[in-house]
């Protein structure tokens, strides 16, 4: 019989998935928005998708300091 892997110290699902969900949403807005608009909007929506790269860089820099 398996036991639930959960105790009081564990993060909630919301705490675990909050940041990835936000990035998922920003990426989708960027990917689809750039398809619907041209010109300066391409830069704006690219910035939405760039959130993934910025967050990765933030995590990598923070882990080294």
């Amino acid at each position: 019989m398996s036991r639930p892997h959960h105790n009081r110290k564990d993060l909630s699902l919301w705490a675990i998935f909050r940041a990835p969900l936000v990035l998922f949403g920003l990426s989708l807005i960027g990917l689809i928005g750039a398809l619907l608009q041209d010109g300066v909007w391409d830069a704006v929506f690219s910035a939405f998708l760039a959130s993934t790269v910025v967050v990765t860089a933030w995590a990598l820099i923070r882990s080294r300091s």
Binding site: L11, P20, L35, V53, A59
Partner: protein, 362 residues
């Protein structure tokens, strides 16, 4: 999550990844230069060129077609497309009964009928593209890579599920750089996987849709376009075809305000055996990616139908920019490249984590 549930997702993640990893690595590595095809070809192929008679009259499309076909005796026309910034018409022809994908491509100067230097289709890029598309195996290769794309989707979904138990004590973005290599690479794998999930799913799923191009177009021809073909029992022979210029003019009248993109000749994937399919696209950011064909009877030159494409052909059309990343300028292409590299790291670290596990157990 119950231990048994975690084991099941773990098994799913392991096997969907292991089956597809080598192919996905090939796709990521070939895809990286392919993102910049346009920029690379601008460097590799000389762009400076002036038409023979810059101010002279333009040859008719029929004359251009004849000039293109004269270079490849015995071949039949397949496609004709139009350069946007120079008076050049590209004639694609094919040997009757040739194996799929063996096309001849000739850019023709519309002011002289001479061959113009190509601005696309450098052999190195074509090699990478075909490796990426079907591994030189035609339709079976394409469908196989589509299956690998589905494996990728399964791997991403199961990976997201497994993210929860792995991260239940770790704040988002944790990389334990001072721990053992295995722990460190697990953190890189989880971080990059969580961050790139949306992009990987979009590029993966649109890649799968692109691998289905041949069956999608075949289904379209055999259903929506079928009624147009019942009047004839043999394909329209070369000698009995109406003027191409007249056909294109007729099509333009049927779809006013749209931009001519390409002509598919009878017998190709994009038309029936009996029609010139003259494809137009719209001029909004979204509709430039979607085409509507006017079908012109190749024997009589009469308009047979304007055939707005059904949803599944539209889905195929939109899957191309969303997969290639060529719809939002250079910034979007650079992001495509960075996320592609991140995917390579995810695949590599996943393989490393699995290999490490094997050694430890042994």
């Amino acid at each position: 999550m119950h231990a048994r549930t975690i084991r099941a997702w773990s098994w799913t993640h392991k096997w969907s990844s292991l089956i597809s990893t080598l192919f996905l690595l090939m796709l990521c590595v070939t895809g990286l230069p392919l993102v910049f095809t346009h920029e690379i070809e601008e460097v590799l192929l000389p762009q400076a060129w002036t038409p023979a008679n810059p101010d002279g009259p333009l040859l008719s499309l029929d004359e251009v077609l004849a000039a293109g076909l004269a270079l490849h005796p015995g071949e039949i026309p397949a496609f004709m497309s139009f350069d946007e910034d120079r008076p050049v018409v590209n004639v694609t022809s094919v040997e009757p009964n040739a194996p799929a994908g063996k096309y001849s491509f000739e850019p023709i100067d519309r002011t002289s009928g001479d061959v113009a230097p190509p601005v696309a289709g450098h052999p190195v890029m074509e090699f990478l593209l075909q490796l990426h598309t079907d591994m030189f195996l035609g339709l079976p290769g394409m469908l196989f890579l589509g299956l690998m794309g589905l494996m990728l989707v399964v791997a991403v979904v199961s990976g997201v599920v497994l993210y929860a138990p792995f991260m239940r004590r770790l704040p988002f973005g944790t990389v334990r750089v001072k721990k053992a290599a295995r722990t460190r690479w697990l953190d890189y794998h989880n971080l990059l996987g969580a961050v790139t999930a949306a992009w990987v799913l979009v590029v993966g799923l649109t890649g799968v849709v692109n691998t289905l191009a041949t069956p999608i177009l075949a289904y379209w021809k055999n259903t929506a376009l079928k009624d147009l073909t019942v009047a004839y029992d043999a394909p329209a022979p070369m000698g009995e075809r109406a003027s191409l210029d007249a056909a294109v003019e007729r099509a333009k009248q049927a779809l006013p305000g749209m931009t001519l993109q390409f002509v598919a000749f009878p017998g190709t994937d994009y038309s029936t055996d009996h029609h010139y399919a003259v494809f137009f696209h719209g001029d909004t950011p979204l509709t430039t990616h979607m085409t509507t064909p006017a079908l012109i009877d190749a024997r009589t030159g009469e308009l047979a139908a304007v055939a707005p494409t059904p949803w599944y052909v539209k889905a195929l059309s939109l899957s191309q920019p969303l997969h290639f990343g060529d719809y939002g300028g250079l910034a979007l292409k650079i992001l495509w490249a960075l996320l592609d590299v991140a995917t390579i790291v995810i695949l590599g670290s996943g393989l490393y984590l699995w290999l490490g596990k094997g050694r430890r157990r042994a």
